[in-house]
């Protein structure tokens, strides 16, 4: 798309002016690259990233029930990497090695929906990513320097751990995690009388300490909690709730004509914690958040069964999507305190409720005062102006009928869930690219059988009109993503591990026996392992620890044990270990699975399990 030659010319012009003979992107000031490389006039961004060129954004995609996180280059939409999180990855050994098992604690399956980065002053600080597991009710933290999970916190008392959002200001100290399914609290045999009484099921808004990865507290509610958001002042977290009815069937959940946007007052939460106003359930401090029993939660009525909640980059508005209502509800955050103080009614925080189309689910922002909302039923993305929507609301019904706020409508293929614009969840929303994460991709790709890919569509939003630029298939099933300007991440990501960060790093290969327990320590340095053979006896509990000593960046080795269902990969200076019972006598070759050298095939050693 677009005239790339023009770009190249511009690009080299800059290089020439700087007097550099062989230009590399790294030599140029970030802003220069950013401003010149892809902008082709208003609304004409080029998606092309030629061989050898780099993308402008790191895209972090949740992998849905694949349990992983994916790293996608934007705008090329090339999948650059996968970060295993709540899954077993037989390629990298996640879920197989002792290190990963210690984090997964026996549950190597999951359902990731939302990935968000840690913040400083409303912009990503490049330190962490946080991701939920709706299946097993936990939250993982990914350290961006190694792009790997370093902590997982299990969250008791909740189910359907769905909406997740980190604190944006002044920095991410807390992360909130919502429970979408109401359950008895506690949900165990001690409370069995509640099993058949949905009135005794509760939702929870969980607050997690981002650094310690420990639960700070939970706020207990009658309502369920769907999507989550935090403001830009460090004062509130928010959620939508679609089941204030405490229904357990679809009909019951659809019964009420309204539901809520819930606001949580962090100052009051801290106060309640300090005052000891909580009870402990499964070791977690549970605060009372139910209506009439607590001053922590503000309930703003919105049309029934809302879905997404997103905060405008200027920090002024929360936008709740109507889902079964063809409207979005715009809440002015400056009014929240007035409502908490009882000076206005909660519903008076609403400043507009414009029509957007059928099935609004999520909203994102271009940083120029416009919002873009995904419409599931209409199969469109609609761009609308926030100020115009508020103005029309003030003018009244007749003005609203004209829908003066709607700027453009774009058909997508086919059923959109989340949408996200570049940097849209930060103060620095830049209005360049939008990704529409669509379900159902009939016709868009070669047929690969009954289970077809999802369809992520890339849309240029730099102009007035939304312009569809590219389709990319996604294996089941990303839900949400963020796209982070590369300069915020690039310098934080490392090429190699610190060898001695791992307490078991091996510098000298050898076999050590303590009774029935055998430890095999081994270096790897392509194309040889530190040992040519290791002998154990049938029935021994064997721990194999391998450290990659290769000096060359990107030279990883694999370690596969024939017939023992074990494989993992070690990057330069990385150490991984596995423990297994040597229950099969015989000669078992341990071999390198990750191509490493001209003699890669010869990189193997014998594990001899003696009778």
């Amino acid at each position: 798309m677009g005239d790339k030659r023009f770009n190249r010319r511009n690009f080299f012009k800059i290089v020439g002016a700087a007097g550099v003979a062989t230009g590399t992107a790294a030599l140029l000031p970030k802003d220069a690259i950013f401003a010149k490389s892809r902008k082709e006039g208003k609304g004409g961004l080029s998606q092309e990233v030629r061989p050898g060129e780099l993308d402008d954004y790191y895209g972090f995609w949740s992998g849905g029930h694949s349990g992983e996180v994916r790293v996608i280059g934007v705008p090329s939409m090339r999948e650059i990497s996968r970060i295993p999180v709540f899954n077993t990855d037989v390629a990298s050994g996640w879920g197989i090695t002792n290190e990963s098992k210690a984090l997964l604690r026996g549950r190597a399956g999951g359902d990731t929906h939302h990935v968000h980065g840690s913040y400083k002053d409303g912009v990503y600080d490049g330190k962490y990513l946080f991701v939920n597991d709706k299946l097993n009710n936990r939250m993982a933290r990914i350290r961006i320097d190694y792009m790997e999970v370093d902590a997982i916190v299990d969250v008791p008392n909740i189910q359907g751990a769905h909406g997740l959002f980190p604190q944006r200001y002044p920095r991410t100290e807390w992360v909130v995690l919502n429970s979408e399914f109401q359950t008895p609290v506690p949900n165990d045999a001690s409370n069995k009388k509640a099993f058949d009484n949905p009135q005794e099921y509760y939702g929870m808004h969980t607050i997690i300490d981002a650094e310690k990865m420990e639960i700070v507290c939970q706020v207990m509610l009658d309502e369920n909690c769907d999507l989550a958001a935090t403001d830009y002042q460090g004062k509130y977290s928010m959620t939508t709730s679609y089941n204030i009815e405490k229904g357990v069937t679809i009909s019951e959940m659809l019964a009420s004509d309204y539901d809520y946007m819930l606001v949580f007052h962090w100052g009051r939460i801290k106060k309640a914690l300090a005052a000891g106003k909580y009870r402990k359930v499964n070791g977690v401090k549970v605060l009372e958040g139910r209506k009439g029993r607590s001053d922590i939660v503000l309930r703003i009525p919105v049309p029934k069964n809302p879905h997404g909640i997103n905060i405008s980059p200027d920090g002024k508005y929360a936008v709740c999507c109507g889902k079964v209502s063809p409207t979005v509800t715009v809440v002015e955050l400056d009014r929240i305190d007035l409502a908490y103080a009882g000076k206005i009614k909660p519903e008076e925080c609403i400043v507009a409720q414009p029509y957007v189309g059928l099935g609004p689910l999520h909203t994102t922002f271009d940083g120029r005062g416009n919002a873009i909302t995904s419409l599931f039923i209409d199969s469109t993305n609609v761009k609308w102006n926030i100020a115009k929507a508020i103005e029309a609301e003030k003018k009244g019904k007749e003005a609203k009928k004209e829908n003066p706020h709607i700027v453009d409508v774009l058909d997508i293929h086919y059923q959109v869930g989340h949408i996200m614009a570049t940097m849209a969840e930060t103060r620095e929303a830049d209005g360049k690219w939008l990704v529409s994460l669509n379900k159902v991709s009939k016709d868009r790709y070669l047929n690969v059988g009954p289970l077809k890919p999802e369809n992520d569509q890339l849309i240029d939003i730099s102009g007035e009109k939304l312009r569809l630029v590219h389709d990319s298939p996604a294996y089941i099933e990303p839900h949400d993503c963020i796209m982070v300007r590369r300069d915020l991440i690039e310098s934080k990501v490392k090429h190699r591990y610190e060898m001695f960060d791992h307490p078991l790093a091996v510098t000298k290969s050898g076999v050590e026996r303590k009774g029935k327990k055998v430890t095999i320590r081994m270096t790897a340095n392509a194309p040889v392992y530190g040992l040519q053979e290791a002998r154990v006896k049938k029935g021994d509990e064997v721990t194999l620890i391998v450290t990659n000593h290769d000096e060359i960046v990107d030279l990883s080795n694999g370690v596969a044990i024939s017939n023992y269902n074990i494989n993992f990969v070690i990057a330069p200076y990385q150490t991984k270990s596995v423990t297994f019972t040597a229950d099969r006598p015989g000669v078992h070759w341990i071999y390198c699975t990750n191509f490493c050298h001209a003699l890669h095939l010869e990189m193997r050693m014998r594990l001899i399990v003696e009778v």
């Binding site: 009909s251 019951e252 063809p326 409508v409 058909d411 086919y414 059923q415 159902v440 016709d443």
Partner: protein
Amino acid sequence: MSKCFVLLILFVNLYGATLEAGQWKFAEHRYKYKLEDVLEADRFVEKDRYWEAYKNQDLAGYVCLSKDWTRNLVGYSGKHMETLIGMNTEGVITGVKLIFHSEPIVLIGLKDANYLKFLKQYPGKNIRKDMTVGKEISVDAITGATVTAVVQNAIVQKTAREVALRTGLMNVSKRLGRTVRQEFTPLTWKELVETSAVRNIVVPAEELGIEGPEDFLNLYFGPATIPSIGRNLLGDQVFEETLGKLAKGESAIVIFSNGNGSFKGSGFARGGIFDRFNIEQENRVYIFRDKDYRILTDIKAEGAPAIKEGGVFIVRGGDFDPARPFKFNLILSYRVQTKKEFRSFKVEYKLPDRFLE
């Protein structure tokens, strides 16, 4: 035999243990009905899958239940929308009553009242005349639910016409008996167009009052199973594979287009039904489902243009005859600024003589 039917329907329990996995129970609506709800009469006589209605001993018309005639027409929910239909002896619809549906219109912010309002358009319409969604039948009452509208329209139209044929109210001419020439003649794109083997519908953007330099839609269609048409358009492989998918007496049509507009739309993606086009022959309506469709990405005829969208669509049922004239209905959806609009087009297709024996 004089008796007044009062059919009592068991109400489905919307709540609790009767919920079945995967059913649209939450969207289900079932209504009680009496035959006189759709046709005023003092006596109904049950016939084979319809009733004769009498008023003062005179035949006043007919009443029928759609599920007896068009059960295979299913909506977005995958279920048939059971409809009670009445018409007088002139073929004028006297009443239409929805008895059961589970279309999830609640999800698009619509109430059942909207659906019932949609159906209020039918009384007074003569079944001999055109009843096309977007033309004679407006979708305004249930905007957004075009799959529901198109299928519901087909149900009313086809059921009423089938009953009219049965009662002799309408006649269907027997197949003309002309046979399609099986001999294959290679034809270029130019020849296919000039001989009217494929028909063309051009919708200029200007005509719709929308921006865009090119034609909003430039669409071609033709019968895919006529050797000198289908084989030239589709190439040997797709042509033969298409024939291989047909049951005895079945046929297929090929449709393709260029322009910003789309004849496929997106309704089929989730609803399984193509809601922007259908064909009619001898008062029968044929709507197309995704399972009877194959994507077409290029036209093989020499000199054919590149296409943006295309498909081969099987006409199921075995009562469609490509050798006889048929009508192609296009219900085009587009936006003027940000407002959604519909425009319908009806084009007749007549197989040129050179393709017949």
